[in-house]
Symmetry: C2
Subunit: 298 residues, 2 copies
């Protein structure tokens, strides 16, 4: 790892970032005692289910990278993690992927019923914007940040990608289409995590766009790795059903280009992301994170 | 109608406000040609289905009432209408009310399938915050406005009310519980429509809170009237299935207090709302709107 940062620096950064983020999420997500009953339980079921907190840690890194603090980016970090959490709830619903297991636990709709899982997702999506706006420091471009999160999460970005993903089920794989799906479904939110962090940290426009660009490549690589893991791992290792993509006829990257090429593409995209991350204050941590996300099996 | 405003003034205000709002919605909601395919079609299916545009017109009135312009409040108006539209899509899903007919047309999930209706709702909810932030004038407290919309639409407000509504199905009616349901499910969004309009128009804190308070009473009265109409009207008159509340064992106001008392409560609440609206620049239009929303049958 470059510039004197060790793997343990990255590990301790992620640990501390996750702790900070979890305390914010604990403050903003309701508890059952606050009159929200099962709705609160279903929201907490997914938010506190052992997620890796990749997106919020990227937001914290985005702020530090441009000279801001981690605290500056806590609203942004909570916002992107709540968007990610809602998307998992809705993705797992019977009318979508009909998931049973998520992070090794039964899905929210299995535990609480479909209507409650649907409403809990709606509440988390709404709370994402509230938390972003409420906890972004005065003097930051909060309006532009809400717009950026909206684009990344909505019909242009994540929801658009999920729709394209559904529409492509069972079609013959095609690298152009799978790029568009992955860019919307996964890369848009990962990219905006860095972008919002940089905006929250007071970054200049060129710093913000450099991090957003690196985030797009990192996000694409991350989804390719996820596709590969779905093929390589067992259900126990994944915490969700393995081989689910193939079973549903999902258009994955390895299905479009083959297994070996997919591994090569992920490595190439990650190297492109690293190049974008190579000039900020957190380059070592960001580059370390990119390498950590590449598959470790050979 | 007081102070020289006639019924035709209100009618023409609502007509012009709706026209302005529709042109903003047409600009922000995607078209099928823009790469969003069926997602865009499902979004437009509900957004342009002949809604009364009550909430966005309240936002415009809120701005005018405190000395702002209608244009100031167009972001707020689009935001509250998009929240309303998404809530109808998700409410009608099979796991919720399983609606078939909405505004005289088949529901989105009947036309496009459940997954597309779910995703279109998610996209509209996301777009609501984007449009609010993107189209609110510089210099207005956009962060506070996003927070207010989040609270009104989320677990504290609308989604919380929907959850309480589901949880109360089949229970014996109780006026305290039905007040909490209606306050969350309906009044929160109606109240925040006026509040956001007032904030967008540059209103002072006392003007903003006066309009928000009037909005809560107006919203409660509005939902009681809606409960009454469900009992009194035919499916053709409503554009959705009549008698659906009773069939599902919904906890309505007339079920809790009786039909005559419900009519009296609606009139009382509307009078309380009128009292809150009695000092701003738009008092005549706001009071006229309150009277127009009371049931016209005797």
């Amino acid at each position: 790892m470059p510039e004197g940062h060790s793997v343990s620096d990255l590990e301790s950064f992620l640990e501390q970032g996750t702790e900070l983020l979890d305390s914010v999420l604990d403050a903003v997500v309701p508890r059952a005692g606050e009159g929200a009953g099962e709705l609160a339980e279903a929201m907490r079921h997914i938010v506190f289910s052992g997620g890796k907190r990749l997106r919020p840690n990227l937001a914290l890194l985005g702020s530090l990278d441009v000279g801001g603090t981690r605290e500056d980016a806590l609203g942004a970090a909570a916002g992107v993690e709540l968007i990610h959490a809602y998307s998992l709830l809705h993705d797992d619903l019977p009318c979508m992927d009909d998931g049973q297991l998520r992070r090794g636990k039964p899905c929210a709709h299995v535990v609480f019923g479909e209507a409650t899982a649907l409403l809990a997702g709606d509440a988390l999506l709404t709370l994402a914007f509230e938390a972003l706006a409420d906890r972004t420091p005065q003097g930051r471009p909060v309006g532009a940040m809400v717009v950026a999160l909206g684009r990344a999460a909505g019909w242009v970005g994540m929801v658009g990608g999920q729709m394209a993903d559904l529409a492509a089920e069972g079609r013959s794989p095609d690298v152009e289409r799978v790029t568009a799906i992955h860019a919307g479904k996964t890369a848009a939110l990962i990219s905006v995590s860095l972008e919002l962090g940089a905006l929250a940290g007071g970054g200049a426009p060129d710093q913000v766009s450099r991090l957003a660009a690196g985030g797009r490549e990192l996000g694409l690589a991350f989804q390719i790795v996820d596709d590969l893991l779905d093929l390589e791992c067992t259900t126990e290792e994944l915490g969700k059903q393995a081989g689910a993509d193939a079973e549903r006829g999902k258009m994955t990257w390895p299905a479009a280009v083959g297994f070996e090429q997919a591994r090569a593409d992920a490595a190439r995209l990650m190297a492109e992301a690293e190049a974008h991350f190579d000039s900020g204050a957190c380059r070592a941590l960001l580059v370390g994170l990119c390498r950590r996300l590449l598959p470790r099996r050979s």
